[in-house]
Amino acid sequence: MRLATRNRLSSGGVLSLPLVWTFLFLFIPYAILFIYSFWEKKFPTFVPAFQFGNYLELMVDPQYVRVLLRTIKIAGLVSLLSLLLAYPYAYFLVHKVKRPGVKLVLYMAVVLPLWVSYLLRAYTWKTILGTQGILNSFLVSTGILSEPSSVFLYNQTAMVVTLTYVFIPFMVMPIYAALEKIPGSLTEASRDLGMSAIQTFVRVTLPLSMPGVIAGFTMTFCLSFGDFIAPFLVGGPDGMMIANVIATQFGAALNWPLGSALALVMLVIVLTIITLSDRLQGVGRGKYA
């Protein structure tokens, strides 16, 4: 009895700090954003109100939908490119690298860049992709190009490359974990029953690793969806993403209500994606576990 009470107390004690944290730094700020999103822009700043004008404007003015679609496109491309690179890498690590030391080094090679500031890593791409950058010097010195090209930097491709580089660890880690969990006996059984290596991969390994793929896709998508540094550093005149628009509404336009409405739309999209990914992972588990 006394023990149970003490247990409850101590678990309350353990949980209370994260709960306070969540309440103060997640719930309250979002509640404030929510309230602001109904306020009204009125020179010089904005005034309390309850109206849906901000949400209406987001639908009526085509620029917001356009930037939103562009952001979804870029985040989608980043996730896809990350997947195409990360899956073979993780597969290679789990199945082909036999020595644990080498495995650890190769795994850390992916994870280690996370210890370096994001800004620094994104900035580095400027020096690689620029007109007088490393890539151009290489291509010119090897004779592949006759003169430096400007196509590598300040466009959406540069943004996709940079964001892929920055967020790819979040794809490698869950896929690696998922692949490593698959018991070797399953693939052996598949081979014993006459399946080819490719058939085994498509029908056993890939389905069983899907939870990792979905988790990785969700993380890279959501992280690049909210990014506003890459457009600023390596994006061109068509690089503005939704987070940049929110920043200008809070800054230049001093229209916090519209910025809040936009931020909430973004939050809803991200939450939808996370919910969907949760469902998908549930389906995967139900079917194959």
Partner: protein, 352 residues
């Protein structure tokens, strides 16, 4: 109105308190200044601190858009700010700044009359800012890339320069496009004129390498050979480039250039009023005026002080001898309720 605003400010400061957890403490004799890089240079600040005992902490802004949000997010941090003349009206209107007793500014009458009477710092018979520095939003190009020096804004729409053009990522881009369209009343554009400017900028976009946002970014773009022509804060980036051995030439185009002027304003409720006035006096004295002229390459608001502390060459180079030059610039104006429309128009160009 004032009441509602003060309530807004209070509630916002509560929010910011919750968000930051701690409130910065006021300290008597300590000035917190929100300003541009170079405006609190050691050459002026160190003697000032020694003489007055007022300690100066400077926080730098990257754009004029940073002043209002920082003040709206809760008072009590900054004592002085230095926004440009197009961003002052909302601060006055919202009650973020205090009227200034000009009788306490010894050199007030030496400041250009055009600035002292400017609508940007005057309201209902009260003065809200002490003019500090000014200049043009000039244009600039890489010297060795142009055989005939460009003289018109139209050069930034020249298809031959595809991928070599840059423009400031600011509503100022609309001012540039409007002037090219022949709409000279750039601060009072009608909806049609604003739309035409938008179209003009959309037309130019394929030629743009990158819209620049900070002074350092533009310098990097020129230094890395990415950009050959752009607009610029006259005097500033060109001298940074000159230090790197890159030769650029500034010019005022046929379509004219915008002018800007920064003034220091006192944040409402500052507990350091004494130090604030001492700082304002220093800022428009020889020490403050020549510091900004030397560090940033900007022209200054007090030509009398400038004459005493500048070499004759610098005095002429910064147009301090030439009131007509100042008059020819389209001095930035507050856009009032139209600010939102201008900002949205510029965002729409970038959203295309």
């Amino acid at each position: 109105m004032a009441n509602r605003n003060s309530r807004l400010v209070t509630s916002l400061s509560v929010v910011s308190l919750l968000m930051t957890g701690t409130a910065p403490a006021f300290a008597e004799g300590e000035l917190n200044i929100l300003t541009w890089e170079g405006y609190a240079d050691a050459s002026a600040i160190e003697p000032f601190e020694k003489e007055t005992g007022c300690k100066v902490n400077a926080t730098y802004v990257g754009s004029n858009d940073d002043f209002a949000p920082k003040l709206a997010a809760g008072g009590g941090v900054f004592d002085l700010i230095s926004p440009s003349i197009d961003s002052t009206a909302p601060l006055i209107e919202a009650g973020f700044v205090e009227p200034i007793d000009t009788s306490k500014i010894a050199e007030w009458d030496n400041i250009y009359e055009k600035f002292r009477n400017s609508g940007g710092i005057n309201k209902d018979g009260e003065v809200y800012g002490v003019p500090y520095a000014w200049g043009a939003i000039a244009f600039m190009y890489l010297k060795d890339k142009f055989e005939t020096p460009p003289t018109s804004i139209a050069e930034l729409w020249n298809p031959d320069l595809e991928g070599k053009v840059s423009l400031w990522d600011d509503k100022s881009a609309l001012y540039v496009a409007a002037r090219l369209n022949g709409d000279t009343d750039i601060y009072n554009l009608t909806d049609e004129q604003l739309d035409a400017a938008k179209k003009k900028l959309a037309e130019q976009r394929p030629l743009i390498r990158k819209y620049w946002s900070t002074a350092g970014e533009l310098v990097d773009l020129y230094a890395a050979g990415e950009v050959w022509i752009s607009n610029t804060w006259a005097g500033y980036q060109s001298s940074l480039l000159a230090d790197k051995g890159i030769e650029v030439v500034e010019f005022i185009p046929e379509e004219n250039a915008e002018g800007w002027m920064d003034s220091f304003m006192i944040v409402k409720g500052t507990p350091n009023e004494d130090c604030a006035y001492k700082f304002l006096n220093m800022a428009v004295s020889e020490s403050g005026q020549c510091a900004v002229a030397n560090v940033n390459g900007y022209s200054v608001a007090n030509p009398v002080a400038a004459k005493n502390c500048m070499t004759p060459e610098q005095f002429v180079a910064l147009h301090q001898d030439d009131p007509d030059y100042l008059d020819s610039l389209l001095l930035w104006e507050n856009l009032g309720e139209r600010l939102g429309d201008y900002t949205n128009a510029w965002n729409a160009v970038k959203a295309e």
